[in-house]
């Protein structure tokens, strides 16, 4: 079976007055049909940029090399009209802030219908009635009234439901949700996670869930990729990752997550130091300066991602499984 999304040695750099810096450094990954993959990493780790490259949404000063194939088609080679046929229909994205990703001066119904008019060529009338049904499927109360409302009239949670409805209109093969709950309150976050779980079961598409919060990803993802400084450092089955983190960074990250259960700690564990600035340490392990297990080899040779399909790690001295 071909992968829904296949990324091969993707490099995303940004030109800068002092040269070029790499936000994504030779990343390879695959997303299978109907699979839910969590992408976890701290700010600046490059987790969003991979998918911005796949969507053709990188800014002008970005330099991209490598390959991103969506359902077998090379996305990096597509021109704007060809990209527009794919994105928004078969490949869709949900962003962190639903207020800035909806158009403020268009009614919800118009924005939803527009997607189907553009991609499926249906009439505005049919598109609007389908939009209303889709709002109902994502549990927006009073869907018919919402169609005539503007984004500012909806709460943050409602707007995110509208975004999810929009992403599903053309029966996508892959939905990319980039920090879909970060801007929301914890009670609303729980509702949106539930909704994503439900629509995944109902629509059967593959789902990429990008988040800085391992706990958000934990409840949904089949597999989790951990990113650090533009690299995938671990790629494991979700249950395996939580039970036996293999990369020292993953283990540290899990330790740092304060919990509402378990013993109260006198001090929270912390991770000393900072991630390297992009461009530094090209031939070393990017985590070596902060790693308690680092040896000489880590400072001269970059570890490659390797291991079984259930658990891959980019580390010379991984924690034992």
């Amino acid at each position: 079976m071909t992968a829904t999304l296949s990324v091969d040695r993707l490099r995303v750099g940004f030109s800068h007055r002092t040269g070029s810096i790499d936000a994504v450094d030779r990343v390879s990954l695959e997303i299978a049909p109907s699979e839910c993959v969590g992408i976890v990493g701290e700010s600046g780790s490059g987790k969003t940029q991979i998918f911005m490259a796949a969507m053709g949404l990188l800014p002008r000063n970005a330099q991209v090399s490598g390959s991103v194939r969506f359902e077998g088609n090379e996305m990096l080679a597509l021109d704007a009209p060809a990209l527009n046929r794919v994105r928004g229909s078969k490949l869709t994205m949900i962003f962190q802030d639903p207020m800035t990703s909806l158009t403020p001066h268009l009614k919800i119904g118009t924005q939803l219908a527009e997607v189907m008019v553009a991609h499926l060529g249906v009439s505005w009338k049919d598109a609007r009635s389908f939009a209303g049904r889709m709002l109902e499927r994502v549990h927006v109360p009073e869907p018919q009234r919402r169609l005539n409302q503007y984004p500012h009239e909806l709460s943050g949670g409602m707007r995110q439901r509208v975004m999810i409805a929009m992403s599903l209109l053309c029966e996508p093969s892959l939905v990319i949700a980039d920090e879909p709950t970060t801007a929301l309150d914890v009670t609303i976050q729980a509702q949106i996670i539930e909704l994503l779980r439900a629509v995944r079961g109902e629509f059967g598409m593959a789902l990429v869930l990008i988040s800085h919060d391992l706990a958000v990803v934990a409840g949904l993802a089949d597999r989790i990729l951990v990113m650090y400084a533009g690299n995938v450092v671990e790629n494991s089955i979700a249950a395996e990752l939580f039970r036996h983190p293999r990369h020292p960074y993953t283990a540290e990250l899990l330790k740092c997550m304060a919990s509402v259960s378990g013993p109260r700690l006198a001090r929270l564990p912390t991770l000393a130091g900072q991630p390297p600035r992009p461009g530094e340490l090209l031939e070393a392990c990017p985590f070596a300066p902060r790693c308690s297990r680092a040896a000489d080899r880590c400072r001269i040779e970059r570890p490659q991602l390797s291991g079984s399909p259930a658990s891959q790690v980019a580390c010379h001295f991984p924690l034992s499984a």
């Binding site: 701290e42 700010s43 709460s155 949670g157 409602m158 309150d185 914890v186 009670t187 609303i188 976050q189 729980a190 509702q191 996670i193 539930e194 779980r197 800085h212 919060d213 391992l214 706990a215 958000v216 934990a218 409840g219 979700a238 249950a239 395996e240 939580f242 039970r243 036996h244 983190p245 283990a251 540290e252 990250l253 899990l254 330790k255 740092c256 997550m257 304060a258 919990s259 509402v260 259960s261 378990g262 109260r264 700690l265 006198a266 001090r267 929270l268 564990p269 912390t270 991770l271 900072q274 924690l319």
Partner: protein
Amino acid sequence: MNNTLLRVRDLRVDFGAHAVVRGVNFDLSAGETVGLVGESGSGKSTLARAILRLLQAAQGSVEFLGLDLLKCPPAALRAQRRGLQIVFQDPLASLDPRMTVGETIAEPLKVFEPGLSAGARRQKVGDMLQRVGLSSEMSGRYPHEFSGGQCQRIGIARAMILSPKLLICDEIVSSLDVSIQGQIVNLLLDLQDAGMAVLFISHNLAVVRHLCHRVLVMYLGKLVEIAPCDALFASPVHPYTRALLAAVPHMPHAAVAAAPAAAPGEPAASGEVDAPGDVDAPGEVAALDLTASGCAFRARCLYALPVCETRDPPLLEVAPGHWAACHRSHETLNPLSWEPV
């Protein structure tokens, strides 16, 4: 208690016709860390700003060391603010980009200790930078040269330079990555050990749990539960508090993750990933209809009774030091949406 530092009574803040803080009462003792939690729009930040008189309260009193801040004349208020400092959420936006970090931290000293020599001031700034985990050589740098976590330390250093009695922290870890959050929380724990009182506003319940002695839960402008930290997490009373706790996503195998060294020899934990259960507070925070009577949470409450429609429940003590505003606070509500650990 005679070591009460802050005494807030019947505090009310209106924005136009809208009541944002609706009669809040609480005390904060010297050296105590109190968490203030609730969803966005519950009035947490407004309450903090009203306490500092950064915005005008409609009624009530805020006694700080026995003096009502809301009624005292400007000069006296200014003198009091020395003992009452705030750190804001956005670390970069709350620092002046054109001032060096040293100038920023020295500014309160220039205002409150004008007699201090430039050398002594520099010394104090350098000491403070070290205390928050930065180095004194950094005082000549500008905010944009620092990371988010470092900027937050600078904000804390600026607030701490006058050795205040009370530090109000408004969502100071929310914009930081998890590996950095711990550093800021640990810094606050150090300040706590040094006798500082903290009002810690956050929607991050896990951080509140590790840091605070007591927790205030706010919903639509009112405190609905006040409890010692352990009691709140072990046996929350108000349905809203339970819903908040139940909504926190759980880490599978958190215990294993926290102590990976202890894993060998132990039976393997089950491979299941925790699925969050039912959503315990359906719906969302609504704009409050002031003409409506009754409990503000009733529309989202799984346990609402007819009486909740008509009468607003008062805050009553359900256990020593544990207060809740719920008509059913003395019942054992089932099903428990939050299992004590």
